[in-house]
């Protein structure tokens, strides 16, 4: 997994995902500031809207990829042995995959 996200590719992925995340956070903050859903029905229907659920799904995808590159940098900087590096990267990678599946299920359930 790390070979596919090494060097320039990881750098690019981190920057591109950062741009999308930044834009999403900006738009979402404005939307919540000016049109906050107050009831459960409003909240759920807001997220059920196809444009919203798609951009939210992409947001999480970008977020998890961005987090992977960042945490990998930290692990590579501070983990002292190859065993620790491999163990930590596998653990983090697996956690991110689990969370991706979790978020996917959440949004799928809302879209019904």
């Amino acid at each position: 997994m790390t070979r596919q996200l090494s060097g320039l590719r990881a750098w690019l992925v981190q920057r591109l995902s950062a741009l999308y995340i930044g834009l999403f956070v900006l738009v979402a903050s404005l939307a919540l500031a000016f049109d906050r859903p107050v009831t459960f029905a409003q909240w759920r229907s807001a997220l059920a809207h196809p444009a919203v659920s798609t951009t939210v799904l992409l947001f999480f995808a970008a977020l998890f990829v961005h987090a992977w590159v960042g945490i990998r940098d930290i692990v590579l900087d501070y983990a002292r042995s190859a065993a620790w590096r491999l163990g930590l990267l596998v653990f983090v990678g697996f956690s991110l995959l689990l969370m991706s599946a979790w978020v996917g299920r959440i949004l799928l359930e809302v879209a019904k």
């Binding site: 920057r15 950062a18 741009l19 930044g22 956070v25 009831t39 459960f40 909240w43 759920r44 997220l47 977020l63 987090a67 960042g70 945490i71 930290i74 969370m99 979790w102 978020v103 959440i106 359930e109 809302v110």
Partner: protein, 127 residues
């Protein structure tokens, strides 16, 4: 490997002078780590709030409890700092503000902006 153990290591990290650029750099890394650790509870709250009416109210009421409200505030501070410091880094990537003085100035600007926005969020959450 044994030669490495005999080499001296500087332990006095607390005694060094750190410019704004160094502080913002490590803060960017630390907040990134913190945000990562906050992901599971955040996703859990997200799921809970969407499950049903009771879940929605439960999620909101949990965020009213003082310790969780404080954690929310810390999380939002971390997000703001990581985001603003990240924007500074993206600008540096396209060669904006790379000179020594501009880099230090932009670090100070980011710190000030983070403080302002965090205070505003704190006001909104706690007042």
């Amino acid at each position: 490997m044994s030669e490495r153990k005999q080499r001296p290591v500087f332990q006095g990290l607390w005694h060094l002078d750190y410019p704004a650029t160094a502080l913002i750099s490590i803060a960017h890394r630390i907040t990134g780590m913190l945000l990562f650790l906050l992901l599971p509870p955040v996703i859990y709250l997200f799921e809970l709030s969407l499950a049903d009416e009771a879940g929605f109210r439960q999620a909101l009421s949990w965020l009213e409890l003082s310790p969780l409200r404080l954690l929310l505030f810390v999380g939002l501070w971390a997000l703001v700092l990581h985001l603003f410091a990240g924007i500074r880094l993206l600008l540096l990537d396209i060669d904006v503000g790379v000179s020594f003085l501009s880099a230090r100035r932009s670090a100070i600007v980011v710190n000030a902006a983070v403080a302002v926005v965090t205070l505003a969020i704190g006001g909104a959450l706690f007042l």
